[in-house]
């Protein structure tokens, strides 16, 4: 993990006693969390564990939710949703540049930066396509480019690959990791996929009953191999934290989305 030495003193994200509730149900129950600049964090949890609520709170999208606690985030935050959320009536490049001024503070041309971002995600040449002409994976790439072009200090991703097929998802993992290595934003990746979390993140959190139950640092080089027994150990610890025994049988009630590891040793 390449540290960014100058900024290590100040966390990029700091949550103190973050509480959110929907009616009588407390979804986040006093979450404390620091994310240092440039750290790649994955957030695991069962559906309904509050992981999306946490992400939406950090993104500032939860106006109507009751809650308390302190929250500090960087200036530039980008969000990638599960759906690409491209506006169907804007061409791909115009989607990427939605809300971006013609020139940035350094006087660089926005369209140039948009093209560069599209090239980075492998969509060079598709600038004038309509979103409806892209495949699901390409749409999600365009959404990544839309986040990239804003040069985020913090990238929030809410199950960004959940709607993609397995092969496309693996390519997207590689891409996301590459983009992170190049631009080094802090990343908070919400997922219910243990493999995805273990393969990508440097630190994995497990959210349970509105609190962070597990905070695991995965100190393995990239690209990671599933054959690496060390990674296997991490995965088993995470699965155990989610209530799944190594043989794949749930030890407690586990939603379908958290499994998918049956038949593995």
């Amino acid at each position: 993990m390449a540290p960014i030495a100058q900024q290590l003193t100040q966390p990029a994200v700091r949550l103190t006693g973050l509480t959110r509730s929907f009616g009588p149900r407390t979804v986040l129950d006093g979450v404390d969390l620091d994310i240092p600049p440039g750290q790649f964090v994955a957030l695991l949890g069962h559906s309904g564990s509050g992981k999306s609520t946490l992400l939406r709170a950090i993104a500032g999208l939860d106006h109507d939710t009751a809650g308390s606690g302190e929250l500090s985030t960087p200036e530039r935050v980008s969000v990638v949703f599960q759906d690409s959320r491209l506006l169907p009536w804007r061409r791909v490049l115009d989607n990427v540049l939605l809300g971006v001024g013609k020139r940035d503070a350094d006087g660089r041309d926005a369209a140039e930066r948009g093209r560069a971002a599209l090239a980075e995600v492998g969509l060079a040449g598709r600038e004038t396509a309509w979103p409806g002409q892209l495949s699901g994976g390409e749409q999600q790439r365009a959404a990544l480019a839309r986040s990239l072009v804003r040069e985020p200090e913090l990238l929030l991703a809410d199950e960004p690959f959940g709607a993609l097929d397995a092969l496309t998802r693996i390519r997207m993992h590689t891409l996301l990791r590459e983009l992170w290595q190049r631009h080094h934003p802090s990343v908070l990746l919400v997922t219910h996929d243990v493999d995805e979390a273990a393969a990508l993140a440097d630190r994995v959190l497990v959210l349970e009953h509105g609190r962070i139950a597990v905070d695991l640092t995965i100190d393995l080089p990239h690209p990671r191999s599933y054959r690496d027994p060390q990674l296997g150990e991490y995965r088993e610890r995470l699965l155990a934290a989610l209530g799944v025994r190594p043989d794949g049988e749930p030890t407690a009630a586990v939603p379908a989305g958290a499994t998918g590891h049956r038949g593995e040793d």
């Binding site: 993104a59 500032g60 999208l61 935050v77 980008s78 969000v79 949703f81 759906d83 959320r85 506006l87 169907p88 009536w89 804007r90 939605l98 809300g99 492998g122 969509l123 060079a124 040449g125 598709r126 309509w130 979103p131 409806g132 002409q133 495949s135 390409e138 839309r146 804003r150 397995a166 092969l167 693996i170 390519r171 993992h173 590689t174 891409l175 493999d195 393969a199 690209p223 191999s225 599933y226 054959r227 998918g260 590891h261 049956r262 038949g263 593995e264």
Partner: protein, 292 residues
């Protein structure tokens, strides 16, 4: 099973990432272009003219065969001849010009009013509170039933005709545009928040383009409505215009002039609807990419 996935995951980083699928030539045995089995087939240009032209052919054939009494329905060429005659005499030109001008004025005013009211009601809560209920009441009153009142208020001149057409036009424009503005996908609202769009950027780049499909539905209804109300207005309360021409012809038993008037209405209605459809295809080009 999951072992396969693991293997792919390990090797994936080394492989170049393909951005688009490689086109594979499709072999067909018959050599004909393949058509989607459940689709209604390929659309041909000007195909919409086929129905009206067929009707015209049947009419002409029946007239030529002497099956139609000219007092009931004169032959197409009689109608055309009458049209030419009235055109050179100058009366048709005046009547046509008057009718077109009324329809255009009423349509323009109704369109602007409908769009402005829908924007005001769709983009602000105060606007919605003030406007939406009022328009719904207005909609419930049959517009043609307002004619007597408007004649008392505005006299029997041009103003009341234009106002009636404008009312007929603004209602479908308002209803459809307002519904489209109010029905903007909440996911796009979230996106706009995340991208920190200003309110103006949000309205201009997200809300209004997203509402355009609904607007065009209203526009097409409005175009038809403007012609419809014109016919009624000119046949009851006019001293010129196509409707008046037909009303006079009724008094003198000139079937050919009545049919001529109907034909002109039909042609203009069809042409204006086609113009709106063409505009819609241009403006909503992004939708074609979905349907094709």
């Amino acid at each position: 099973m999951a072992d396969h996935v693991s293997t792919v995951l390990v090797t994936a980083p080394e492989r170049p990432v393909a951005t688009s699928p490689v086109p594979v030539p499709r072999v067909t045995t018959t050599g004909r272009p393949r058509v989607r089995r459940l689709a209604p087939g390929r659309r041909r240009p000007y195909a919409r003219l086929l129905g009206p032209l067929l009707l015209l052919a049947v009419w002409a054939g029946a007239s030529a065969a002497g099956l139609l009494d000219p007092r009931i329905l004169p032959a197409p060429w009689t109608v055309l001849h009458t049209g030419w005659h009235l055109w050179t005499a100058g009366t048709l030109r005046t009547d046509l010009g008057t009718s077109l001008w009324r329809a255009t004025q009423g349509f323009a005013i109704g369109l602007v009013a409908g769009v402005l009211l829908a924007l005001a009601a769709g983009l602000s809560r105060i606007g919605e509170a003030l406007i939406d209920g009022t328009v719904q009441v207005n909609r419930a009153v049959p517009t043609l039933g307002l004619i007597p009142l408007f004649i008392l208020w505005l006299g029997i001149g041009e103003t009341f005709k234009v106002v009636i057409i404008a009312i007929v036009v603004y209602i479908p424009v308002y209803l459809n545009l307002h519904a489209a503005l109010a029905g903007i996908d909440s996911r796009y609202v979230e996106l706009a928040e995340v991208l920190r769009l200003s309110r103006w950027q949000f309205v201009r780049q997200v809300v209004i383009p997203g509402a355009l499909p609904g607007f065009f539905v209203g526009l097409r209804l409005a175009v038809t409505g403007s012609w419809l109300s014109l016919v009624v207005l000119e046949q009851i309360n006019a001293t010129n215009g196509l409707g008046y021409m037909m009303f006079q012809a009724q008094n003198y038993g000139q079937t050919d002039v009545i049919v001529l008037g109907l034909l002109i209405y039909g042609v203009f209605g069809f042409a204006s609807d086609s113009a709106v459809r063409l505009l819609e295809r241009r403006v909503l080009a992004w939708r074609r990419s979905l349907s094709s």
